[in-house]
């Protein structure tokens, strides 16, 4: 029978089979750990395999004693060596996960070697019931003490460190700690069982309890994939929340959350995510470190995983992406059991999800960009005053600011209308409805037309409408661009009326000139002196009328186009008025009174100011009463000049259009004039920053007032 130290394993003869099973169990665990290390690259390292295999071999060697009743000395010593070696391997394993101070490594290694030397020099008695000398006991406790310290210290350290680690690492470290404790328990139970001739039942019980502890070692030292999944299960509960987070629409936020999840899932120390050559998320490490790891990765030919010189494991996963390089990198500490093949597979899958999420965000960003540019476009359209409307069938979905301004309605009011056609002119409604039906059914229909619109306050707007049918995911929509052309139409109508009026005004003198010329030609010699004089007078009158008309038309055209050069200067009003009165004296039966003082200075173009004064005075001579008055006063930053008379005044119905071209009183033909004078006066006054108007408040007589800026 071997030294009592080994009796812990070779418990009793009758339980040889149980012992064999135990030996095979340890050995299998060792082989399994070695296999996992080779096959999956799991870091539990070869030390565990060696330690477990050593223990297994010890038990199996011990079977010799069970069978033969004694053990050869060589095997006995070999068992001792293996026993101490297992302690050393377990210590090295602990060192590979949590580095051990150098001095401690040396001290403990020396202690193990010393224990072998001591046992060699002083073998312990080989009886089942030894009577130990004090020296025997010292040796025994020294050997057991060294072994226990090599196993016990890691058990405590693992547990202590586990408390500050993330969930997966914590579970892993606690399992290891448990396994080390289990080993110690096995030793002590065995020693207890081998000392003092225990009853058979107790011995059987201890053997069975040791056998039961083997699975604990298994889960700790060579955890299968399903167990590791179980460890991660709590992390995976976060999946739902995380996936929700993936619906965030910010690239950095998603990346940061995804990375955090991956780090927790793997029990890693940190990591990073790179997208389009930009590191968009880091955790546990800084961007510089992340960049360094990426550089290593591109330098090597796509290694997914490697171990750094400091013992850190690095794994990099490609994110599924169509745009540039995207990758997630994870960095594990020594304590993390990460990056076994099953973890790599799972993290790869996760990385693909992250890639999809990032692609989704990119899509959102592109869409948002488009939406923003569309909105900018809509604003620009609105700024141009063009209405923009989106309708679903007859109902409004969107209307821009310009359209609301145009129609006078609020967006809510329009949206509540059962049909936007209510804004159409009643006589056009049916045509619009038919056009809409045809457009929606894909029939031939014009995309551009003119239409009348009714505003909220009942005004009528003339509009040019451009329409397009668009197919959206929620059905067909009609988008319309609406331009208010009321003003343009009015201007066109005005222009054509103006031309018509001008032509009409031209026809009378032309008729006279052509007719009299014809008459002179065909009745030469037949006409008497009186007729010749009358013809000559008429020709002169009509010729002059034609000249004035043409001059006025040219004036008005130039003024409309802003082509009249103005030379604004400070002008003494009295000075100009005197000149005008001198060249346009009142006719014999009329008189002009100037209400003094009239010594203001105005900022005006001298020639145009003279023209305005002349025009107003001549109008008064022609249409006004006998007494004509001119006065001036300052008003704010302007000078107001009034020309009034005591005549019949302007008929009320004529006042609103008084300053429009060709607007004339009914008796105007009696006194001549082109009908353009006041229109020209107003345009000239406005061109100089002033204005002119008719003051109809006087009970009798006409009063024309014009205002010019004060110099």
């Amino acid at each position: 029978v071997g030294p009592p130290v080994l009796k812990f394993i070779v418990v009793i003869d009758v339980f040889t089979y149980l012992n064999a099973a135990m030996g095979v169990g340890f050995l299998s665990l060792g082989v399994l750990a070695a296999w996992q290390w080779r096959r999956r690259g799991d870091p539990p390292s070869p030390y565990i395999a060696l330690a477990l295999a050593s223990l297994g071999i010890i038990v199996i060697l011990g079977l010799e004693e069970d069978i033969r009743g004694e053990q050869s000395e060589v095997l006995e010593f070999l068992s001792l060596v293996l026993f101490m070696a297992s302690a050393y391997f377990l210590l090295l394993f602990r060192h590979s996960i949590i580095p051990l101070a150098r001095v401690w490594r040396i001290v403990l290694s020396a202690g193990i070697v010393l224990s072998l030397v001591v046992l060699l020099v002083h073998p312990l008695p080989e009886s089942d019931h030894p009577s130990y000398t004090p020296l025997d006991l010292v040796v025994l406790f020294y050997v057991i003490g060294v072994w226990s310290f090599c196993i016990g210290e890691p058990a405590i350290t693992f547990w202590r460190v586990s408390r500050s680690r993330p969930l997966v690492q914590r579970t892993r470290l606690r399992a290891l700690s448990g396994a080390y404790v289990a080993l110690i328990l096995i030793i002590f139970v065995a020693v207890f069982a081998s000392i003092g001739g225990q009853p058979t039942a107790v011995q059987a019980l201890t053997t069975i309890s040791v056998l039961l502890l083997i699975p604990v070692l298994w889960t700790a030292f060579a955890p299968p994939a399903w167990l590791k999944r179980a460890w991660r299960a709590r992390e995976e509960e976060f999946r739902l929340i995380e996936d929700l987070a993936v619906y965030a629409d910010d690239r950095h936020e998603i990346a940061q959350r995804a990375l955090n999840r991956a780090v927790r899932l793997a029990g890693a120390d940190g990591g990073f995510i790179v997208s389009s050559e930009e590191i968009i998320a880091v955790e546990g490490i800084d961007t510089k470190e992340a960049q360094r790891l990426l550089d290593i990765r591109s330098a090597r030919q796509e290694p997914q995983r490697w171990t750094e010189a400091g013992g850190q494991n690095v794994a990099i996963f490609s994110l599924r992406s169509e745009e540039g390089e995207e990758a997630m990198g994870l960095v594990s500490g020594r304590m993390a059991p990460v990056f076994g093949s099953d973890e790599l597979r799972q993290l790869s899958q996760y990385a693909e999800l992250v890639g999809v999420a990032l692609a989704r965000v990119r899509l959102i960003e592109v869409l948002r960009g488009q939406t923003e540019s569309n909105e900018a476009l809509l604003h620009a359209i609105s700024d141009l005053g063009e209405g923009f409307v989106v309708t679903q069938s007859e109902r409004l979905e969107y209307a821009n600011e310009a359209y609301l301004r145009m129609t006078g309605y609020s967006f809510e009011e329009l949206k509540d209308l059962p049909s936007l056609l209510e804004l159409s002119l009643p006589e056009e409604r049916e045509a619009h409805a038919e056009r809409l039906r045809r457009r929606l059914s894909g029939g031939p229909v014009s995309d551009h037309y003119e239409a009348g619109l009714l505003t909220k306050d009942g005004r009528r707007i003339d509009a040019e409408v451009a329409v397009k049918l668009v197919h959206t995911p929620s059905g067909p929509r009609v988008i319309s661009l609406i331009r208010d052309v009321t003003e343009r139409k009015r201007a066109e109508a005005f222009r054509s009326q103006f031309i018509q009026n001008a032509a009409h005004e031209l026809r009378t003198p032309t008729t006279a000139l052509v007719g009299f010329a014809d008459l002179l030609d065909s009745r030469r010699g037949e006409l008497d002196e009186r007729e010749m004089a009358s013809i000559s007078d008429a020709l002169n009158r009509q010729g002059e009328r034609l000249r004035v008309l043409v001059a006025n038309l040219l004036d008005i055209t130039r003024l409309q186009q802003g082509r009249i050069p103005l030379n604004l200067e400070a002008i003494g009003l009295e000075d100009v008025l005197n000149e005008v009165l001198e060249s346009n004296p009142a006719p014999g039966n009329k008189s002009v009174t100037v209400e003094r003082p009239i010594d203001m200075t105005v900022l005006a173009d001298r020639l145009r100011l003279e023209q305005i004064l002349t025009n107003l005075l001549v109008n008064a001579y022609r249409y006004g009463g006998r007494r004509i008055a001119v006065d001036a006063s300052t008003n704010g930053d302007g000078v107001v000049i009034a020309v009034s008379d005591d005549g019949p005044g302007v008929p009320g119905d004529l006042v609103p259009s008084l300053f429009e071209p060709f607007s004339r009183g009914e008796d105007a033909t009696k006194v001549g004039g082109s009908g353009l004078g006041l229109a020209i006066v107003r345009m000239m006054a406005r061109a100089q920053g002033g204005d002119v108007w008719y003051d109809g408040r006087e009970r009798s007589g006409a009063k024309f007032v014009f205002k010019l800026p004060r110099a």
Binding site: H504, R507, T508, T510, T511, A512, L513, G515, F516, T669
Partner: protein, 125 residues
């Protein structure tokens, strides 16, 4: 060609004197009115064969003149409209309003005489 008694209604004195000279030179008798109202008075009192009517006048224009003639059944003088518009539309419009002839400004002596004399030769309306 018989001599006609012609009423000239026109607000432009120079045009009136031109027309008078042309028509009198051709041997017709001419009476003048400076506006529609005076024209209606003369139409009633002097019973002319032809009225040469400026369609566009202040106070009472040619259209209103013809409307009142129809309403009041003022004789059976024939009407020649004078206007600055020479388009087929305005000619048809004038005829519908009651003109038997039409002449547009500016006109030559011949155009005026032809329009007046042809209308005067036609059957009374």
């Amino acid at each position: 060609m018989k001599s006609l008694k012609i009423l000239v209604v026109d607000d432009e004195p120079d045009i009136r004197s031109l027309v008078v000279m042309i028509l009198e030179g051709a041997g017709h008798t001419v009476i003048e009115a400076p506006d529609g109202q005076r024209g209606l008075d003369l139409l009633a009192s002097d019973n002319p064969d032809v009225v040469l009517l400026d369609l566009r006048m202040p106070v009472l224009d040619g259209w209103e003149f013809m409307r009142r003639v129809r309403e009041q059944g003022l004789g059976n003088a024939r009407m020649v409209g004078v206007s600055a518009h020479a388009s087929p539309d305005s000619i048809r419009e004038a005829e519908e309003a009651g003109c038997d002839g039409y002449v547009s400004k500016p006109f030559t002596m011949k155009e005026l005489l032809t329009a007046v004399e042809e209308t005067g030769d036609g059957p009374a309306s």
